[in-house]
């Protein structure tokens, strides 16, 4: 079953940078996809268009048979409930407890007085604890987030997303600030969730080895265009050269972000 479909999608930022250029993609339910490419290639942009954190300018983007571009106001929020997102910098509320962070995924369903007082119903708490159990940090439930290591924090973020019970997880460089060993642990968690719950998972990642090891499918992006799309086993050195450019081309990299430095 098709989960996400990009049809001739183009995205231009207000400052004129064309971050996505005529992208066509279909991603099925339950797929584990890694998106690779140079810094500034448009990986984050691609992922963020899927849950409407960014607007696309041209083309259509269908997610779960919904035309994302046509959603308005409250519909956007309802739509986002069905998509989880993981960030490189975890984006947790560091001054509250782990469980409270996980419980935030249930906030939109709560009664107003619960929101004012910051109280959560018991069944949601159990749900949150089970999510923490799945990523192996149940014992940290009542610790404050800023007492955890980076790897543990990323697992809290993952638990927060699991408790949201989404159909899709989008992850923007989830292991970029973790050491190699911890990175593997977190990737294992992703793999496990993918296998157990059949969620579609899209991961932006700079580690090519990790991408090839964990993902079923790899999408290569270069200057806003899809230059490779296929099985991870089929990725060869030529393919990587095509995605990243051969060494000689690197300095010409057309990236305003880098150029400024």
């Amino acid at each position: 079953m098709t989960m996400i479909e990009f049809k001739n999608v183009t995205k231009t930022y207000p400052n004129g940078v064309k971050a996505l250029n005529d992208v066509n993609l279909t991603i099925d339910q339950g797929e584990f996809v890694a998106i690779i490419g140079l810094s500034g290639a448009g990986k984050s942009t691609l992922i963020r268009c899927i849950n409407r954190m960014h607007e696309i300018n041209e083309g259509t983007l269908m997610v779960n048979d919904v035309d994302v571009g046509k959603l308005k106001g409250k519909q956007v929020r309802l739509f986002r409930r069905n998509i989880g997102m993981i960030f490189q910098s975890f984006n947790l509320v560091t001054r509250t407890s782990v469980i409270n962070n996980v419980l935030i995924s249930t906030v939109p369903d709560l009664a107003w007085w619960r929101k004012v007082l910051g109280l959560f119903p018991k069944e949601k708490k159990i749900d949150a604890l089970e999510a923490l159990d799945k990523v192996g940090i149940l014992d940290k439930a009542y610790n404050r987030v800023d007492q955890l290591s980076g790897g543990q924090q990323q697992r809290v973020a993952l638990a927060r997303t699991i408790a949201q019970h989404p159909a899709i997880i989008l992850a923007d460089e989830p292991v970029a600030s973790l050491d190699p060993v911890t990175a593997k642990v977190v990737m294992d968690d992703f793999k496990k969730i993918n296998k157990e719950t059949n969620m579609s998972i899209l991961i932006n990642i700079h580690h090519v080895e990790l991408a090839l090891e964990y993902a079923d499918r790899v999408i290569g992006i270069r200057q806003g265009e899809v230059v490779y799309d296929g099985k991870s086993e089929a990725v060869t050195q030529e393919v990587l050269d095509q995605i990243y450019g051969s060494q000689a081309e690197l300095p010409k990299m057309n990236d305003p972000e880098e150029a400024e430095v």
Binding site: I99, I126, L129, E130, L138, D139, A141, Y142
Partner: protein, 270 residues
């Protein structure tokens, strides 16, 4: 629900009782203070006076505001206030150096630090106006009494901030110097003093900002500065003069605040 989850659920810390107790105490205090404060509306003449002050600020006594020649004009009064606050801060911060070392638990023993702290708290609690009156007996009325008052009252806050600096010294540098074979003198000279100096200076500049604000009230007891003329002007309903003084005061303090923030960020960022 599995066993581990069940166990963890039961371990949830219960802070409801604690939080509601605090809430009730707070509410009681609020009610109590409402009962104490005599909530009055505007004084019958209040609205009239409020609008007088407002108009006074809009139409200040310009001759008074820009009187650069006589000692009674706003510029000189402000200048005197600046001088009082400046010297007060300098004396206060010099006195605070030994006191802050005596207050640091990592420099002296715990009991000594505690006693010094107690003394400083007591010094701090006596209102500045009381010191003002005491110093006037020594020096006679005038700005000198203001300087002495300022020195004494700023010791409290400055030494408290200095203690933070001393306690937060980067000890890694000292370790590195020990490993290079430096002796104690060298460690103090090159490892501690550079850290202390810029941080102390930053604290002092911060305090100057506040002292300037406090110096304006010393005039109330005759210890110089712009406070006395302000009160005279108000008590004799000369609103245009009040306006001039308030404008001068606001501009001066804003300017000093902006300047001192710049200076401090320069100090911190090199």
């Amino acid at each position: 629900m599995n066993k581990a989850v069940q166990l963890q659920l039961e371990k949830e810390p219960n802070r409801k009782l604690y939080l509601s107790t605090i809430g009730i105490i707070l509410a009681a205090l609020l009610v109590w203070s409402f009962m104490g404060v005599n909530i009055t509306g505007f004084d019958p003449r209040g609205t009239q006076i409020a609008s007088n002050i407002f108009w006074g600020i809009l139409s200040p006594d310009l001759a008074f505001l820009f009187d650069f020649r006589t000692a009674g004009g706003v510029p000189y009064l402000l200048f005197e206030t600046i001088a009082i606050a400046f010297l007060g801060t300098i004396f206060g911060s010099l006195l605070a150096i030994p006191i802050s070392f005596l207050m640091s638990p990592s420099v002296v023993s715990k009991p000594v630090a505690f006693v010094t702290r107690l003394v400083v708290i007591f010094i701090r609690t006596i209102p500045s106006l009381v010191y003002g009156l005491m110093f006037i007996r020594v020096t006679g009325p005038g700005p000198y009494a203001g300087v002495l008052t300022m020195s004494l009252t700023s010791i409290g806050m400055i030494s408290r901030l200095y203690v933070d600096v001393i306690e937060n010294l980067d000890r890694g540098v000292l370790e590195a110097m020990t490993s290079m074979g430096c002796n104690t003198y060298e460690k103090i000279r090159y490892g501690i003093l550079p850290q202390l100096f810029s941080n102390f200076l930053s604290v002092t500049i911060y305090r100057y900002d506040m002292n300037l604000r406090d110096a304006t009230i010393l005039g109330l007891v005759g210890a110089g500065g712009i406070g006395a003329p302000l009160i005279f002007a108000m008590r004799s309903y000369r609103w245009n003069e009040v306006g001039s003084i308030l404008i001068g005061l606001v501009i001066l303090i804003l300017a000093v605040e902006i300047f001192s923030n710049k200076l401090r960020s320069k100090l911190v960022n090199g």
